[in-house]
Subunit: 141 residues, 2 copies
């Protein structure tokens, strides 16, 4: 493995992964959270496109390979502990989520009142972002 100081400086977890947050450069929405391993982060920087590590499929996951919803990386940051990645991205197609929504963060905790006031049985996760495109159309073969 070639020497890559910028990768060596990061703190990878015990599975060799680092959390990665994708933020839309256009409107600053946080659109996605996923994981990267060393190889996928190197691929991301080399290609200028977000490449994640899919934990469920245990494989490299170039974002948008099926959907076309590629994330072009505009800038890349890490935090003070160098154990979390934050990407500013251009979201191709305007859809980051596999549900066809702009952002994966579409469930908001609500209880019809101020959050801290409502009782627990009133609290629920409510989908508050519209589906832009039917997933069946995004992932059709």
């Amino acid at each position: 493995m070639t020497k890559q100081n910028w990768l060596d400086e990061l703190k990878w977890d015990d599975q060799g992964l680092i959390p990665a947050i994708a933020q839309d450069e256009k409107n600053s929405k946080v659109v996605m959270f996923a994981w990267m391993n060393r190889e996928s982060l190197a691929m991301s920087v080399d290609s200028g496109r977000a490449v994640y590590w899919s934990r469920s499929r245990a494989k490299i996951w170039p974002k948008g390979e099926e959907s076309g919803h590629v994330q072009k990386i505009k800038s890349l940051r890490v935090d003070c502990d160098k154990d979390v990645v934050l990407m500013s991205i251009e979201q191709i197609g305007g859809i980051a989520c596999h549900t066809g929504r702009e952002s994966c963060f579409y469930f908001e905790l609500t209880d019809g009142t101020n959050l801290a006031d409502g009782s627990d049985d009133q609290k629920q996760w409510q989908a508050v972002e519209p589906v832009i495109k039917n997933p069946d159309e995004i992932y059709k073969k």
Copy 2:
């Protein structure tokens, strides 16, 4: 433990934790990433202030308990998989990071050229956000 459907619906990892992202409602900056367990998320919602789980200290961590840099929660979301929390917060003191910066995400990958063009030995993490307050002043006893 009382029944709390909204908490039961979340997917906690094998250590009972969930990643939590704090985003400043004022300027949409992602200022912090940390972890929560069930108890700290319940405390966050009850109090309206971010309470994390400190993995290094293995204890409940009410953000700002020493520094005063409390994060007031304005809204709370989870993602499509219900395994990541995103908070829109008001950052008291305008400083989220223990280094005295507005945001923990202050290291930017740079190589003086387009990121995908530079060679690996030119790439480096550069601190691009100013220290607003000396940490010695923030954490003085």
